[in-house]
Every structure is written in structure tokens, then in C-alpha cells.
């Protein structure tokens, strides 16, 4: 008859959880990156893997060393450092000197994330901070593009890849321009099919549009990000560039070219969608996406740089607190709809 008194757990309501966890979501995002990584390896061979390893190592090492979370290494469990490293690596050019890639990972986590207190506290997308830092620090190295490889050259690695730390990576004879560069400086558009299939020069992750779109659809379906962000960005880029194109089809690129070229797809799917640095409410998300789209078109068509996705996202990251402020949910029973 006597039953043991169960040792009762005292935690306040609610007692049920939906069963999603942050590490789980991160793992899924990393899984959704795998096809893009594979595409990068397919087009750029071993050097792609090397760059990705270097950035990821840089990111992980910094998180391990500098994160205030104790015991050491616990901060790595959420997987965000790996994700940052991989995304950073995918927006770097193949054949970049590995010490630069490593430095990028260090800066991304150290400056972009830990300085603000770690995961969830950063104001700018860490991977983009790393990328923008490298771009500003080593403009030449970051804009030296090797032509997309062929299968036979899978194992070939640029000689500059292994440059000693802080030393220049000697520039190979073969270098080429990205479709956006060609467009900007020579006004020649690369066929859209080539852009989507990856037959063009560019950063590791950005050349093969089809893979990114497929992964993006997967992530939207799994609700790993707010689908509104990429939709808003791509739609606004298409809309703004269409307006310009209609007025001056000779000198300006077509909307299709704008969508397919450069880091737009990659940025819209993997970088702008970082929940920490994008607005939280749907209305704010639309503003954010349209803002990114408008800035991309502005910088690409009238700016001094061929590509503006990175800066566009960083600038909108900066505006995110303000957007959040004006797009707060209204509160039940407040505002117009209240009886």
C-alpha cells in the first residue's frame, strides 16, 4: 500500500516543449550547406576544401579560446562557430592564401560575435564581418579569381595557397574576372544558364545557383529561416533592376543576370537569413529584405564595386535595431482592430 514519495521536479509552467533545439537547427543548416560545399569542391577542387577547413578552424579555435562560456568548449556545442566558418569560407575566392582564410575565421568569431557577448548578441553577421574585414585588408587577394576548374584539375592547388602567414600569395598567371566584373567593366553579360550551373568564376559557394536554390527551398520547407527574407531580397532586386533595364536595356544588366550572378543567391539564402541580425517581426523582415535588394542594385549599378551583396546585408544589419523598433507587433486589443 505504501508508495514511495516521488522526488518531484519543480519547474514552472509550461511543462511541454515543441522539441526543437538550437543545436538541432544548426545541424540542419549545416546539412543544407553540404550540397553547396560539394558543388564548390566539384568546381574548384581541393583548394575549396582547404579554404573551408582554414576558415572553420579559425572560427572554431577562436570560439574555443575566447568564448566566456565555461567550461571551455561548451560554447562549441551549439554548432554556430562551425556554421560561421563554413559560410565565411564559401564566400571567399578559391585559392586564397590559407592564413588569410584562417584570419577571416578568427575575425568573424572574435570581432563579429564574441566582442558582443557571443551567440545571439552580435549586431552584424559574423561571417560577413570576417569577409568584409578580409576584403578591406587584402583587396587584391580577395578579388583574384581563378577560372572555374575542370574535373581534371581537381587536385591542383594554387601556389599562393600555402603562402607563409603575413606574406603575399604570389599571383598566378591565370586569373579571370567574375561575371559581375565582366559586366561592370566590359559590359558583357554572362549567359544566365552558365550562372545557374556554375560555369563562371566567383567565390566558392556562389557560382552554382541551382544548388543554392534547391537548398534554400529545403531550408524554407524545414522552417530553418524566415522564407520572407530571400523572397523579399530576390523580388526587390528583380523589380528594381527590371525598372532600370526597361529604360536602358543596352547598358544595364537584365534582371535574370542580376539574380543569378555574384553572391546574391548565396547571400539571400545563407547570410541575410541569419535570425540574430535580421528583424524579428514579419513586417520588419519585409523592410529588411527590400532594403537589401535596393542596396544591392544601387551598389552594383552605380557604385564603384562590381558586387554589393555583402555591404548591402551589413548595412541592413546595422539598420535592423531601428527596423525592429518600427515593426513591433501591435499587441492584442491595441490599435485599429481593437473593438
Amino acid at each position: 500500500m505504501t508508495q514511495p514519495e516521488p522526488h518531484l521536479l519543480l519547474r514552472a509552467a509550461p511543462f511541454l516543449r515543441r522539441g526543437l533545439t538550437t543545436p538541432g537547427l544548426m545541424t540542419e543548416v549545416i546539412l543544407a550547406l553540404v550540397p553547396v560545399i560539394l558543388a564548390a569542391v566539384y568546381f574548384f577542387g581541393v583548394s575549396a576544401l582547404l579554404v573551408l577547413t582554414a576558415t572553420t578552424l579559425g572560427a572554431v579555435a577562436t570560439e574555443w579560446l575566447l568564448s566566456p562560456v565555461r567550461p571551455r568548449g561548451v560554447a562549441l556545442r551549439d554548432g554556430s562557430a562551425i556554421l560561421t566558418g563554413l559560410i565565411l569560407g564559401l564566400c571567399l575566392p578559391p585559392g586564397l592564401a590559407l592564413w588569410m582564410a584562417f584570419l577571416g575565421g578568427v575575425v568573424a568569431i572574435g570581432l563579429g560575435k564574441l566582442a558582443f557577448g557571443g551567440l545571439g548578441q552580435n549586431l552584424f553577421n559574423p561571417a560577413l564581418v570576417g569577409r568584409a574585414f578580409l576584403q578591406a585588408a587584402f583587396p587584391t587577394a580577395l578579388t583574384t579569381w581563378v577560372p572555374e576548374g575542370t574535373i581534371t584539375e581537381v587536385l591542383s592547388v594554387r601556389s599562393g595557397t600555402f603562402a607563409a602567414p603575413f606574406m603575399q600569395s604570389s599571383v598566378d598567371a591565370v586569373s579571370t574576372a567574375t561575371p559581375l566584373g565582366v559586366m561592370k567593366f566590359e559590359n558583357v553579360a554572362t549567359p544566365v544558364a552558365d550562372l545557374l550551373l556554375g560555369n563562371s568564376a566567383g567565390s566558392l559557394g556562389e557560382t552554382c545557383g541551382v544548388v543554392i536554390i534547391v537548398c534554400g527551398v529545403f531550408m524554407a520547407w524545414r522552417r530553418l529561416f524566415d522564407w520572407r527574407i530571400p523572397v523579399a531580397i530576390l523580388a526587390s532586386v528583380a523589380a528594381f533592376s527590371a525598372v532600370v533595364w526597361v529604360f536602358d536595356p543596352q547598358a544595364s544588366p537584365s534582371p535574370a543576370f542580376m539574380l543569378g550572378s555574384g553572391g546574391l543567391l548565396f547571400g539571400a539564402v545563407y547570410m541575410a537569413t541569419d535570425p540574430v541580425t535580421s528583424p524579428i517581426a514579419p513586417r520588419g523582415v519585409w523592410i529588411f529584405g527590400i532594403g537589401v535588394g535596393a542596396l544591392v542594385v544601387l551598389i552594383r549599378l552605380w557604385g564603384g564595386l562590381p558586387e554589393g551583396v555583402m555591404y548591402a546585408i551589413l548595412l541592413m544589419n546595422a539598420a535592423t535595431p531601428l527596423i525592429d523598433r518600427i515593426s513591433q507587433p501591435r499587441g492584442f486589443g491595441r490599435g485599429r482592430a481593437a473593438a
Partner: protein
């Protein structure tokens, strides 16, 4: 027309006074803790810059050719007293506007951005209209940077920033990243 647009855009985002020339950092870091104050200070700055630009054009046309060594002193004295005068005028005419912007006016006068505006306008030989465009661009660029900074700082104030980064170091890092983001505007409209 393009020329005016370029002067405006250049002063506003490409060579943003704060994020590119490091001007007006005292109010930039001092006032950007609160969004509302930041915005008001920005508006007040636009206003003072307009007055400055007009004053500088006037001095350049009528006074400085005769006494170039007086440039610095003339700018400071004339601009400060004009702003003082306008401040009194506003206080008389619109107490509401005075409460919103007026208290900032004397503060801004001693801001290096104002003096820089006058000096640059002079050294670039801007006409009156160009000067106004320059002042408007610089002012709105300052406001933009200030408001963005205020938003970011308010957000960061909720974050668990490490003790050794807190304070000025964090502000510097935020400003640095903002300045990095603004590099995207480099060369904007220069080809037009």
C-alpha cells in the same frame, strides 16, 4: 545637376563625416545612447551645417580675400555668433522647436565637423549652391550614422557584452564595423 547629386551623396555616405573623416565623434559617442536624442541632434546638426555653409560662402566672398590669415578665427567667431543668434531667434519664435533642437545648438558649434565643413568648402571652392548641397549631405550623413549607431548601441545594451569590451571599446568596434559596412558605398555615382 549630377555634380550637386554627387556632392550630396559623397558627403552623406561615401565620405561620411563621422565614419570616414572621424569628425564629430564627441557627440557621436556622447549622444548615441538614446535614439530620440540622437535623431534630434542630427536634425540640429543639419541645420547648423546649413548656416555654416552660408556663413562660409559669405566670408569667402567678402572677407577672407583681404585677410587670409584670419580664416580660422573668422570661421569660428562668425559661425558661433550666427548660431547663437539663430538660437535666440528660435527660442523667441517657436518654443517647441527650441525644446526639441535648441539645446543642442551651442553644443554643435564647437563640433569639429562644423569647422571642417567650412574649411573644406573653402578649399574646394564650392559655389553657394554646391555648398548648400555639401552641407545637407554632410548633415544627413551625420544624422544617418548617428541614428544607426544609436539603434545598434541600444541593442548592444541588452547584450551580455564582456566586461573588458564594455564602454568605449565596444563603441569603437561598433563604429568600426559600421564604417566597414559604409565602404560599400565607395565610388557611388562617380561614374555618372
Amino acid at each position: 545637376m549630377n555634380d550637386l547629386l554627387w556632392i550630396f551623396v559623397s558627403a552623406m555616405v561615401i565620405n561620411n563625416f563621422t565614419l570616414y573623416y572621424f569628425l564629430g565623434l564627441c557627440p557621436f559617442f556622447g549622444v548615441s545612447g538614446q535614439l530620440k536624442t540622437a535623431f534630434r541632434l542630427g536634425l540640429a546638426t543639419i541645420f547648423v551645417m546649413l548656416i555654416t555653409s552660408l556663413c562660409a560662402s559669405f566670408l569667402n566672398a567678402f572677407v577672407l580675400p583681404h585677410a587670409p590669415y584670419l580664416k580660422l578665427i573668422a570661421f569660428i567667431v562668425v559661425i558661433a555668433s550666427t548660431v547663437q543668434f539663430v538660437e535666440m531667434l528660435i527660442r523667441k519664435l517657436s518654443p517647441t522647436l527650441f525644446r526639441a533642437l535648441g539645446i543642442f545648438l551651442p553644443l554643435i558649434t564647437t563640433n569639429c565637423a562644423i569647422l571642417f565643413l567650412a574649411l573644406t568648402q573653402t578649399s574646394r571652392d564650392y559655389s553657394l549652391v554646391q555648398g548648400v548641397s555639401f552641407a545637407l549631405g554632410a548633415g544627413s550623413g551625420f544624422t544617418l550614422a548617428l541614428v544607426l549607431m544609436a539603434g545598434l548601441r541600444q541593442e548592444a545594451s541588452l547584450a551580455s557584452v564582456p566586461e573588458i569590451v564594455k564602454g568605449t571599446a565596444l563603441n569603437m568596434i561598433i563604429a568600426g564595423l559600421l564604417s566597414l559596412a559604409f565602404m560599400g558605398f565607395a565610388g557611388l555615382f562617380s561614374a555618372v
